[in-house]
């Protein structure tokens, strides 16, 4: 009887032990990350594949033991493109003990900048707004800023323009996101770039741009540089085609040649604008699946592994999501290799050390990722693509802005 009671007690203790002892990964550690982005609401067409890229790559890292026994737990929350919600998500992640944070929009990155500084946490946003870096030590842009992209496009226009001064118009988003780079383009002109900005158009929700296009044409504009999202650009391209104003070849006189920065292009633009997108020039720092290579093969294999549809698999936003996940994984890997604890402080140090011989080359980008105390833009190289026969094709070799260094 006594033995039976003793056995029952031992059993009870064992049950209690296994029930209330938190489950731990006995062999490795779990590194917590947080990401807040627009899975629904405005810009979710970009946010959705972006989140899938991040999610898939971290699943791949955990399944293929890229970090050995350690695992990455990346919490992904929808913020509907709202700063208030992003802040709430960020606070939740901090409560849960994240070591690095992935953000999305320009507004929320600017809005939470002080929180990042106070928490001393490295942040990789999906916004490449140069203003993110003002008074900030912890924000790392994955690729060259919008400003650098717009100035690089302006330089491309000037280099390839025949005749006198190139006359351009800027077609921008009516927000700080859209306006910021225009100032830098104007600075580049002051620094000697042979170009004239005839008009800066802040688009609204126009469904017809005929009057605007006619006005620009009458003012002698030959190039329209866009810095906004795909939808207004597609409306403008369709209107221009309908009016017979689109240049058939680059810089055709009396016609308009359209060029755009990161978020204006991609497969979504082709889907929206159709044939009107032919001849559209676009800067991007990511490899595109329409120009197959080793990197894009890996991207497609990853998408296939996790059952993603063709739209997501071929999206440059999916590639951008993979890229930030790759950079974080690499920073964790390097921190571990040096025998340091993976925490906010050491990851920040490792991010800053990612340069020179230690620059990191992800398979998703056209150039290496470099960061330092003074360099906060990851991939500095830019590839110009243009739509040819319904797909984006490379135009020349990757470029880097010359004037950006002069005006910074």
């Amino acid at each position: 009887m006594k033995n039976k009671r003793c056995l029952s007690l031992t059993g009870l203790i064992l049950i209690m032990f296994f029930t209330f002892t938190p489950s731990v990964n006995a062999e490795g550690k779990i590194h917590k990350l947080g990401m807040s982005l627009a899975i629904t609401g405005p810009t979710s067409d970009a946010g959705n594949p972006y989140s899938k890229g991040v999610e898939d790559y971290f699943r791949f890292v955990n399944e293929t033991r890229v970090l050995g026994d350690d695992k990455i737990e990346c919490m992904i929350r929808d913020d509907q493109y709202k700063t208030d919600v992003t802040k709430r998500n960020f606070e939740e992640y901090l409560d849960k003990g994240i070591v690095m944070y992935l953000n999305y929009s320009t507004g929320s990155t600017l809005g939470l900048k002080r929180d990042f500084e106070e928490e001393q946490i490295a942040v990789l946003p999906a916004s490449y707004h140069a203003g993110n870096l003002d008074d900030s030590n912890y924000i790392f842009l994955p690729v060259a800023s919008y400003s650098e992209q717009l100035v690089a496009l302006s330089e491309y226009v000037v280099k390839n323009h025949k005749g006198g001064k190139a006359k351009v118009a800027m077609f921008i988003h009516p927000s700080a996101f859209g306006r910021g780079p225009v100032e830098d383009a104007q600075k580049a002109i002051k620094a000697g770039l042979n170009m004239e900005i005839v008009e800066v158009v802040e688009h609204g929700k126009n469904l017809d741009n005929s009057a605007m296009l006619k006005r620009l044409s009458n003012k002698g504009v030959q190039y329209v540089l866009c810095h906004t999202v795909q939808s207004p650009v597609s409306t403008m391209l369709k209107d221009s085609t309908r009016l017979g104003m689109t240049a058939k070849s680059y810089g055709e006189k009396g016609k308009l040649t359209f060029l755009g920065v990161h978020y204006t292009g991609g497969n979504d633009l082709i889907a929206l604008a159709g044939d009107a997108s032919e001849g559209f020039f676009w800067t991007c720092s990511f490899n595109l699946t329409s120009e197959p290579g080793k990197g894009t093969d890996k991207q497609l294999a990853l998408a296939k592994r996790y059952g993603r549809d063709n739209k997501a698999a071929n999206s440059h936003n999916y590639a951008a999501g993979i890229m930030v996940a790759q950079v974080v994984t690499e920073a964790i890997k390097r921190t571990k290799a040096k025998g340091f604890e993976v925490n906010k402080k050491n990851l920040y140090k490792e991010m800053n050390a990612m340069n020179g011989n230690y620059a990191y080359q992800p398979y998703t980008t056209i150039g290496p990722v470099t960061y330092s105390d003074t360099d906060r833009a990851g991939v500095d190289m830019l590839q110009i693509y243009s739509v040819q026969d319904g797909t984006f094709k490379k135009v020349g070799t990757p470029i880097q802005s010359e004037y950006m260094k002069k005006i910074e």
């Binding site: 929808d78 700063t83 208030d84 802040k87 809005g111 997501a312």
Partner: protein, 364 residues
């Protein structure tokens, strides 16, 4: 008075003063005091993470804003669909001081209660100005006038460089007797500050409604010609209703600015105005406690639907973007259902519960 001052049963009023009392029985007073004590004490016993404290702080700020909206729309019967703009006026008053003096200036960090009141007064000033069309306009036309104010506000903020073109203008950390309120205590500190404002303003409205100024709001709502005949100035009453609502909204805006330590344009859009209106409708227009129920219900609903939409966004085809539609759909559905089946809002359920307890221990 009844022989038992704890129960309402058998309690007959013999004077207007008795009827106007804030608490009719000792039980009412005790329950309210206990409730108030619990509101102040619970964070000490059940500390919560920053995320949930932020949610609670947000609900309290919405309560302040909706109390104002309820005054103008619920009690005075003047539809305002630009309430978020008034909240924005308060927030941008704080932001303007930060722009001019610097966000760490002593006035911003040490004299923040003064700045919050100033923001309220600025809201009242703009409320009074926007209320001027109410002298000539009614119903839908007045609603359009308030909508135009919302549009003008959005345009000004979005394009003026002084307001950073709508991007965040930072607000410094405030100082209390214990020193600068740091990150760790930030949300708890503001919980108490906002709660004090909610209690004070709540009592303010409760007492206002007992006065002739409060009753004139209701009189103008019910029939402004009849009110005029009784010696109430309908025009002045309408303008003052807007000013009062503007004051509440301004205070809410300033609290929002300090809570988020920054002011950005997107928190004061037309969508937010509609949300405030929905909170007032769901809570119960023309009732004080409706101003409390509405924000709690809508904010919690929003939080839950947000999680549902996020989950749906992962599994529904991205090309259709159905998950994005889930939130506005639920939001709209709740308003329509309340308008159809419970136009008096949650406040009516509270009234039913209260009237039942009033009769206790009798069944009828």
């Amino acid at each position: 008075m009844s022989t038992n001052p704890w129960l309402a049963t058998g309690n007959y009023f013999t004077s207007y003063k008795q009827e106007q009392a804030t608490f009719h029985t000792h039980l009412d007073r005790s329950v309210f005091t206990l409730f108030l004590f619990l509101l102040f004490a619970w964070p000490v016993f059940f500390p919560m993470g920053n995320k949930y404290m932020l949610v609670i702080d947000n609900i309290l700020i919405a309560i302040v804003a909706v109390m104002g909206l309820n005054l103008v729309t619920g009690f005075a019967g003047l539809i305002s669909i630009g309430h978020a703009a008034f909240v924005g006026i308060g927030a941008y008053t704080v932001a303007s001081f930060c722009r001019i003096m610097g966000d760490s200036h002593i006035f911003v960090t040490h004299f923040w209660p003064v700045l919050i009141i100033m923001a309220g007064l600025m809201g009242a000033l703009f409320g009074g100005i926007v209320g001027l069309p109410a002298l000539r306009l009614k119903h839908l036309y007045l609603a359009i006038a308030t909508l135009s104010f919302q549009m003008i506000f959005q345009w000004v903020i979005n394009f003026m460089s002084f307001f950073n073109q709508g991007q965040t203008i930072f607000v410094g950390r405030v100082t209390w007797f214990t020193g600068t309120v740091g990150r760790k205590d930030h949300y708890l500190f503001w919980y108490y500050v906002i709660l004090i404002f909610v209690v004070l303003l709540g009592f303010g409205i409760r007492n206002l409604l007992k006065t002739k100024y409060g009753r004139s709001l209701v009189a103008v709502r019910d029939n402004d010609r009849a009110a005029d005949a009784m010696g109430i100035h309908p025009g002045l009453t309408k303008v003052y209703a807007f000013a009062l609502a503007g004051f509440f909204a301004g205070v809410a805006g300033a609290l929002h600015a300090y809570l988020y330590r920054g002011v950005g344009f997107e928190s004061f859009t037309l969508h937010e105005s509609i949300s405030y209106l929905a909170m007032a409708i769901v809570g119960g227009l023309g009732t004080l406690n409706g101003s409390f129920w509405g924000p709690v219900a809508i904010k919690l609903l929003d939080l839950n639907v947000e999680q549902l939409a996020e989950l749906a966004g992962r599994y529904l085809p991205s090309s259709m973007n159905l998950a994005t539609a889930l939130r506005p759909f639920t939001f709209g559905l709740v308003i329509v259902l309340f308008l159809m089946f419970e136009p008096r809002g949650i406040a009516n359920w509270w009234r039913i519960v209260k009237s039942y307890t009033k009769l206790w221990p009798f069944r009828y």
